[in-house]
C-alpha cells in the first residue's frame, strides 16, 4: 500500500532566505504533488505607492527586493517615462545599463553559490560569494551603496559615473573573466554537478509557455525571450551582445544559461564604458500628466513589469507590479513533481528539505486521505527502536 506523506518546507526554515511554504506530497521518494503558499512577505507596496509622490515611488519599489534592488525602480521609471513620453539623456541610458548589468553579475553569482550549497557543493558556494564581493565594491564605488543604489529617477539617473572610476570598473570586469572560466570548467565538467542537475526538474517548452515563465527559466527551456532585445530600453540596442538559450529545460540548462549570461554582462558593461557619451544625466522632469504607462525590463530573474496610471496629480492612482518570480515560482508545480524528494531542494532552488522534523510529518492513506500515523507515533517508534538497540547492545 502506498502512503502519501506531506513534507512541509517552510514557511520558516533555516535554509530559506525568505519565508515561503512548499507542501510536498510524497509517495516513497517520489514527489507526486506540490502546494505553494506565498504571501508571507506581502507588504502592500502597490497600495503604499498610491500615497507617495512620483519621485518617492522609485525609492519605495527599490525596497521590494534586496538582490535586484535596481530592477524595480528601473521598470518603474520606464513606465512613468512611457506615460509622460519623456526622452532620457543618452548618458543616463548608458549609466542605467551599466548598473543593471553589474546587478545581474552579482545576482547570478549569488544564485550560483546558493545552487552549489543546495546540492551540497559548498566550495562553489564559498568561491562564488567570494568573487561576488568585487562586483559589490564597484557598485558601492559608483552609487555609494552595495545594495539599494538609489540611482534611478524619472528622467535619468541621480549620480554620474566619474572618469577616474572607469579604470577600476574595467579592472574588476577584466579580473572576473578568469573566475568565470573557472566556474564554467567546474560546472561543465564536474560529474557530481552533472549527476545532480542533468535531467532533473525539467520544465518543457510547452509547460514554460503555459506557465508564462520569464528570464533564464524560459531561456533554459528553449524560449529565446529577453526584454533587453525584444523591447529595448536603456542602451541595450546600441551595443553588441547575444541572448543565451538552452533547449533541455533542466537545472543544468538553467545553470549554463546563468553562467554564460555573466560573460555577456561583462561585454555589455565594457562596451557601455567605451561608448558612453558626455552630457547631462537627467531630463529634469517637472510634472507627470494624466495617462497610463507600461515599463518592463529584464531583471536577473526575468521580466519585471510595472504599470502606472496617473490622474494628473502628484501620485499614481494605480501602480501594478509584477516581479519575475511570480511567474517562475508557480512553474515548480510541474518542475518538482515527478522528481525525487532529494532533487526537490535544488529544483525549488531556494529551499532545502528537512526530514528530521518528525512532529511536522503525518502519514496519510492515499485513498481515504485519513491520517494513519502522526508525529507522536513516529516519536514512539523511534523510542521503541532505541530500546531495542539498547537491548541488543547489552547482550
Amino acid at each position: 500500500m502506498s502512503h502519501r506523506v506531506i513534507v512541509p518546507i517552510g514557511p520558516y526554515h533555516p535554509l530559506q532566505e525568505e519565508p515561503e511554504f512548499f507542501k510536498l506530497y510524497v509517495e516513497g521518494e517520489k514527489v507526486v504533488d506540490i502546494d505553494i503558499v506565498i504571501g508571507y512577505m506581502h507588504r502592500g507596496i502597490e497600495k503604499l505607492s498610491e500615497s507617495k509622490h512620483f519621485d518617492q515611488v522609485s525609492f519605495l519599489v527599490e525596497r521590494i527586493c534586496g538582490i535586484c534592488s535596481n530592477s524595480h525602480p528601473f521598470a518603474y521609471v520606464n513606465a512613468v517615462e512611457d506615460l509622460a513620453r519623456i526622452s532620457v539623456p543618452e548618458r543616463a541610458l548608458f549609466i542605467r545599463t551599466i548598473i543593471a548589468e553589474l546587478e545581474r553579475l552579482h545576482s547570478h553569482l549569488l544564485w550560483l553559490g546558493l545552487a552549489g550549497h543546495f546540492i551540497g557543493y559548498n566550495t562553489v558556494w564559498m568561491w562564488s560569494w567570494k568573487y561576488r564581493e568585487p562586483v559589490l565594491d564597484i557598485l558601492e564605488l559608483i552609487t555609494g551603496n552595495r545594495q539599494h543604489y538609489a540611482m534611478m529617477t524619472v528622467g535619468g539617473v541621480r549620480r554620474d559615473i566619474r572618469k577616474e572610476d572607469i579604470p577600476e570598473i574595467k579592472k574588476m570586469t577584466h579580473d572576473l573573466i578568469p573566475v568565470l572560466n573557472m566556474f564554467k570548467g567546474a560546472v561543465m565538467d564536474d560529474p557530481v554537478i552533472h549527476a545532480r542537475t542533468r535531467k532533473v526538474g525539467i520544465l518543457t517548452k510547452e509547460e514554460a509557455i503555459d506557465y508564462c515563465v520569464v528570464g533564464p527559466t524560459a531561456r533554459a527551456s528553449g524560449i529565446p525571450i529577453d526584454i533587453r532585445k525584444d523591447d529595448p530600453y536603456g542602451a541595450y540596442d546600441r551595443i553588441d551582445w547575444k541572448i543565451i538559450t538552452q533547449e533541455e529545460g533542466d537545472i543544468f540548462a538553467k545553470l549554463v544559461v546563468r553562467v554564460l549570461e555573466m560573460y555577456e554582462s561583462i561585454r555589455i558593461i565594457e562596451q557601455c564604458l567605451d561608448k558612453m557619451p558626455e552630457g547631462p544625466i537627467d531630463a529634469d522632469v517637472k510634472e507627470i500628466p494624466q495617462g497610463e504607462g507600461i515599463g518592463h525590463i529584464e531583471a536577473p530573474r526575468g521580466e519585471c513589469f510595472h504599470y502606472v496610471r496617473s490622474d494628473g496629480t502628484n501620485s499614481p492612482i494605480r501602480h501594478k507590479i509584477r516581479a519575475p518570480s511570480y511567474m517562475n515560482v508557480a512553474s515548480n508545480k510541474v518542475a518538482a513533481v515527478g522528481g525525487t524528494i532529494s532533487d526537490a531542494a535544488i529544483t525549488l532552488a531556494a529551499v532545502d528539505p528537512c526530514y528530521c522534523c518528525t512532529e511536522r510529518t503525518a502519514v496519510i492513506d492515499k485513498d481515504s486521505d485519513k491520517k494513519i500515523m502522526n508525529g507522536w507515533d513516529l516519536v514512539r517508534l523511534s523510542q521503541e527502536k532505541t530500546v531495542r538497540l539498547k537491548k541488543g547492545l547489552s547482550k
Binding site: I38, G39, H42, G44, E46, K47, D82, R85, I209, D210, Y211, C212, V213, V214, I225, D230, D231, P232, G291, E292, G293, I294, H296, E303, F305, Y307, R309, I317, R318, K320, R322, Y326, M327, A330, K333
Partner: protein, 145 residues
C-alpha cells in the same frame, strides 16, 4: 503588419475603443464577455506571452487589464474590460487557457473582490486567510478592519 492591426482586423466588431500610445504600446477596450475569445486569439494564434493582469478600482467601474507581450516584435498589447457592476463584479477566468493566469486572478479576487468564473482554484494568495471575505484592500472605499 503590427500585431495590434491583426487584432483590430480580427475583432473589428467587438472592439469598443483602441488607443495606440506608441508603436509598441496598444490598449484595446472590449466588452467583458469578449475577453476570453480575444485572449485565446492573442495567446494561442499570435503567440503572445501573458505578462500579468492589473485590476483597477475607478469611480464608475472596476477595470481589468490583461497585458500580453509579443516578444518577437516587442509589442505590448493590453486588453481592457470594464466591469460596471461594482457590487458583484465578475468575469470569465483565463486560467483554463493558461496556467500563468491562475495566481494573478486569485490576487485580483482577494484585492478587489472580482469573481473569476470557472477558475480552478479561487482562494486567497497573498492575504491572511483569517481576514473577512469582504475585505478588499485595493478598493478605494475599502472597509476598515
Amino acid at each position: 503588419m503590427p500585431i495590434s492591426d491583426t487584432i483590430k482586423n480580427e475583432f473589428s466588431k467587438e472592439i469598443l475603443e483602441i488607443k495606440e500610445h506608441s508603436n509598441v504600446r496598444t490598449y484595446i477596450s472590449l466588452e467583458p464577455k469578449d475577453i476570453p475569445k480575444a485572449a485565446r486569439f492573442v495567446f494561442k494564434d499570435l503567440d503572445c506571452r501573458f505578462v500579468t493582469a492589473s485590476g483597477i478600482d475607478t469611480p464608475d467601474c472596476i477595470e481589468i487589464l490583461y497585458h500580453f507581450s509579443h516578444d518577437a516584435s516587442g509589442e505590448m498589447i493590453t486588453l481592457k474590460a470594464k466591469l460596471k457592476d461594482k457590487k458583484n463584479p465578475h468575469i470569465e477566468s483565463l486560467a483554463p487557457l493558461m496556467k500563468g493566469a491562475e495566481w494573478i486572478e486569485r490576487e485580483i479576487w482577494e484585492m478587489l473582490g472580482v469573481q473569476f468564473d470557472n477558475h480552478p482554484n479561487l482562494k486567497r494568495l497573498l492575504l491572511d486567510e483569517e481576514l473577512p471575505e469582504d475585505f478588499h484592500p485595493l478598493r478605494k472605499e475599502k472597509k476598515e478592519l
